[in-house]
Symmetry: C2
Subunit: 652 residues, 2 copies
């Protein structure tokens, strides 16, 4: 009961953060961070997270992807990371193909895909790396680059030798164990290292026993855990695991699960891995080999029952899935096993990056709520990230955003779809109002197309924004072109499915926020309203045009906290602020999106393009905060009053 002097013990009240959703104008769900189940996990390395799971008996899974072939494939893969990340994988891994220039800066390289997963999708990521046919310098270069990008986990592999003949190089890297040793020698304990295990023995090994000894060597050299090659029967894995334990391998061994998703992919894989498909499986598959859906259904059934056997054995708590970059089968298996997180808790209201530099980050300006990847991109050079307080104007500068076409910042929709949504031909500013209104209402536009994204919001309306839908629709119709908003919240439980975030047992709060573009005529009326006694001390505003001419009533350029949470046994967390200084950087991006994402869809000099250019040149970007969070949101009344003034312009 009583502990040592001066060392307090942890008791029973460890606070968990598990399960809820939300967003602002657009859903933000796509980039929601799902990995950190416990707050503390954000500061843990992968092997610690894994150990915590093994100790608690909590089941987990991980997902393997290969790098895409094309830039478009990269855009799609990143969306898939965002979607599959929501299920709560402990980590994902990205394979390494020497022929594909895997360490380069190309958007399809293993290195860049892994970098995107960590930094922009907030996923704990393992980067594969092979060593044969490479110099020590090349390998060290790859590892240094990975470290610089914030990657902390390497799957150390030998890789396939070039050509048929296998020649050992005296000074070179001939086996995965050489790479493991090299990583530990050059990078000490920085990386967590994973190695491959072969439940049936490596096809090139002298024997199953010899291969087990090789595996033990890899672990002794510094590997932290093992992921196995695929297998078709649970007993294959369980026997392998016992054999590993028998020769003293004590690190985690994660079974690699290959859901059969099609006849050809299975044949291909079997050829590469030199594994034999059991007769009972062949017998089912051969007759239905041209029916993809039937094969996939069978594959799902097979995987589910094998996974159940593994989990029920009591020897397995985590499962590693070879996804083949596909979603449906793996997701279904995970859901049926009950280990897909249906309601992932958000540790913070925005997507946390998994870069080690950003571990303490817990405050961001609200402006990038729907563009978190752009925020991460523009702040990637920062040395420190704000934590606890945003602080005032001393915050470091934002990088310029000229790279609208980086695959991880790009719209998921192709040009033709965008034209359908935003209009093949614009007639007037009112055509623009209609696009915004349709995005909010969910109603199809004149041409019958639903507007599912805007340049500022690449995802459909967030659940939270739905709470404001009626009022938003009304003001957009009148040319108040909203791009970000949140309702006021006066202490809802942190487990609230719409606005909750953070550990359970807490309360979350918000000040009402509204951000929009509007014409200078509207601004004149709005300012008159904002300066009335009713609002002058209650509503903080920042109004700016593309040239940076701005009007504000914020005292001393101080940030205004607009989202905060109170939790048991914690300090206050205030994850979003309206910061006057950052707003000027956001303004550049928000205005540029009119041109980069919208105007450029049209021919130069075309009327449509000129309309967007006019809006860009003449409209103002406005943000409003209602500081009275316990009262009814007054921002809609501000809008009503503004419209009233516009209707009767002669009144005082």
């Amino acid at each position: 009961m009583v502990n040592e002097p001066h060392s307090a013990s942890n008791g029973s009240a460890s606070s968990r953060s598990d399960g809820s959703s939300s967003g602002s104008e657009s859903s933000k769900d796509s980039s929601r961070c799902s990995t950190p189940v416990l707050d503390a996990e954000r500061h843990e390395r992968l092997r610690e997270k894994m150990r915590r799971r093994y100790e608690s008996g909590d089941k987990w899974f991980s997902l393997e992807f290969f790098p895409p072939r094309t830039a478009n494939g990269a855009v799609n893969l990143i969306s898939r990371f965002d979607r599959m990340g929501m299920g709560g994988p402990l980590f994902i891994d990205v394979t390494w193909h020497p022929a594909g220039d895997p360490g380069s800066d190309k958007e399809t390289s293993s290195m860049i895909i892994a970098n995107t997963a960590v930094n922009y999708c907030g996923l704990e990521t393992v980067l594969h790396m092979t060593c044969c046919n490479q110099t020590k310098e090349e390998i060290t270069g790859h590892l240094q680059k990975a470290k610089h990008l914030g990657l902390k986990n390497i799957m150390a592999l030998r890789g396939d030798p070039i050509g048929e003949e296998w020649e050992e190089e005296v000074e070179g890297f001939n086996y995965a164990v050489d790479l493991v040793k090299h990583i530990r020698c050059e990078f000490d304990d920085y990386f967590d290292i994973c190695v491959a295990g072969y439940p049936k023995g490596h096809p090139e090994a002298e024997s199953y026993e010899a291969d087990l000894r090789h595996l033990k060597e890899k672990v002794s050299a510094g590997a932290d855990f093992i992921i196995t090659q695929l297998f078709f029967r649970s007993k294959t894995f369980l026997a392998f695991m016992k054999d590993c334990q028998a020769i003293g391998i004590t690190c985690p061994i994660v079974p690699g699960i290959f859901p059969i998703q099609g006849y050809h992919s299975l044949r291909q894989l079997v050829k590469l891995s030199k594994l034999e498909v059991p007769q009972e499986i062949k017998e089912v598959i051969e007759p239905i080999k041209d029916n993809d859906a039937a094969i996939r259904n069978y594959g799902v059934e097979l995987a589910v029952s094998m996974c159940r056997e593994l989990l029920d054995s009591g020897m397995v708590s985590g499962l590693h899935f070879y996804t083949l970059n596909r979603e449906v089968a793996t997701t279904e298996i995970l859901k049926r096993l009950g280990i897909w997180k249906e309601d992932p808790r958000r540790p913070l209201p925005w997507a946390v990056s998994a870069h080690p530099k950003r571990r303490v980050e817990d405050v961001r300006p609200i402006f990038w709520a729907s563009r978190p990847k752009s925020y991460i991109h523009r702040t990637q050079e920062w040395d420190d990230f704000p934590n606890g307080r945003w602080g005032n104007s001393s915050s470091p500068a934002f990088g310029e955003l000229k790279d609208y076409y980086l695959f991880y910042l790009k719209s998921k929709s192709p040009r033709e779809e965008l034209l359908k949504m935003w209009g093949e031909e614009l007639m007037s500013e009112e055509s623009v109002f209609e696009v915004f209104t349709c995005y909010i209402s969910g109603e199809p536009n004149r041409e019958g197309h639903k507007v599912t994204c805007l340049p500022w919001n690449d995802d459909p309306l967030a659940a939270e924004t739905n709470l404001l839908k009626e009022q938003l629709e009304k003001v957009n119709r009148r040319g108040i072109l909203t791009i970000n908003s949140q309702p006021n919240i006066n202490g809802k439980p942190s487990t609230d499915p719409i606005v909750g975030w953070g550990p359970s047992g807490g309360y979350v709060f918000q000040k009402a926020y509204l951000e929009f573009f509007t014409s200078s005529e509207n601004i004149t009326a709005l300012l008159k309203v904002l300066k009335t006694k009713k609002y002058e001390l209650r509503v903080n505003y920042h109004i700016v045009n593309v040239r940076g001419e701005n009007i504000t009533n914020a005292p001393d350029l101080q940030p205004n906290a607009v989202t905060w949470g109170i939790f048991p046994g914690r300090e206050i967390i205030q994850p979003t602020v309206v910061d006057p200084v950052s707003f000027m950087y956001w303004k550049d991006e928000a205005f540029a999106l009119w041109i980069e994402q919208w105007a450029k869809l049209y021919e130069e000099e075309s009327p449509s393009r000129m309309i967007i250019q006019y809006v860009h040149d003449n409209y103002y970007l406005v943000n409003l905060v209602d500081n009275e969070f316990p009262l009814e949101n007054c921002l809609w009344q501000v809008m009503e009053d503004t419209f009233g003034l516009l209707n009767c312009p002669t009144e005082p």
Copy 2:
């Protein structure tokens, strides 16, 4: 209406922080910081605060004190600083008497008194300094020491020459202007400098005009403002002020007001200052010269009407009072003039120190709520002070508190009074319970003495604690010896007279907190209660004995914010936390107070002393936080359940 690109303007919503009160177990009022009316002021130097007042036309006052003769006088003077500080002086000043070793470390030196005013009473302070008969090195030494102690303002004076003959030293400091030049030369712009002005001319000056020229030289040499010698008629000052302006003196000139408080002090002063008392005043005073009260009443009337004339002239916004270290007359004059702050707003719930190093400090552990001077003392060597977040165990170490007898940490009550309150002779532990109970209830003890302080609380019960009085009384009777507590608050206006703090227009929140000593038998029952499902996730506890053996359920030694405020246009402020690491330092102090302040009142080996020693050796110090601030405080139910368990010890 529209400003320059990329430079946001300040608008109308400058948030003010003006007026309210509170405390925890003891009133804490005594050391409440009153100086910063605006949050921003905390970061401003005296001359900026003064300019802000001149620009806004807000009236202000300052108070002059001289160093005490005895250590006991120092204790009393510090209490007076605390009380008079509540009225909201813009600054106080401490005079310099070369004969009294003014730059030494004695508790009666000018230097140490000024240091105490700044650091422990949170008062903007001006230290007088004279220069004649001192070497450059001595003067530089004094200034360096003042700077090191956090003093930022010097009143530069010549001082009286020793003996009758006045001999100029060629290289020495012969006039105040030499000191002004020296300060500016050696310390650049670090200090704000005040100089003396003589409305009737300096008695030693060749002429009134020559004296004005000397004054102008002092200002040109770098003085920031002028305080005048006393005078008896407002027109004397107003004429002087016009003459100053006529020769180009543009800095603030503050009239020195001398409230006549007694016949002898007036005669003494007149003799020293070589001023003549006007006939009309003499005629009133002479007949009543033995009636102190009558003279004081007359002096108050006289001062009030002269001050009114000065303020009404439109040329004066601040008044400087020669208090002669007395409270009654000056306080009454200020109240009658309406410039004594009746309801000083607290910028934070605790007394802010005015040391420049501590300007950003806005988080403290709740434990020292009633002992803020001890907290400041134990953290005086810190280089950085927490701001925004307390942070976790990396916080710097606290200094040991062995100096219980430093005058600014000492009880205001002498030993005899303490014995009357706490018992000349204790019979048992229950005698101790009674002392605590009487302190809470306000009822006299068995011997008929009220208990107005405890070793942990040198002031009577705070207004806020009064809200909990009934429950506190009940538990103290049962041996739950409370030393700190606060009720839960779910969003009261920041202007609330009892629990409010910070700028107006905001909302303040608290988690319920209770801290007490109790026996190990009670701890056993309490822990059983705390570990029931009802409380285990709701209540955080830390329990420790004098040997540091501790029990807690705090996750990962993280601090728990227990007071926070939400304000318009600001980040969240969380001024008090329950920090598990600091609690171990506080525990040393809290236990030591049993012995140092209480046990040592009795003879060694006496039964009374042995009872206190027993409590010290065997009791536990406990703190409890109810995290559910929106619900009814459950800590009283925890106590009830504990008592229930103690009454029926056999039940599960």
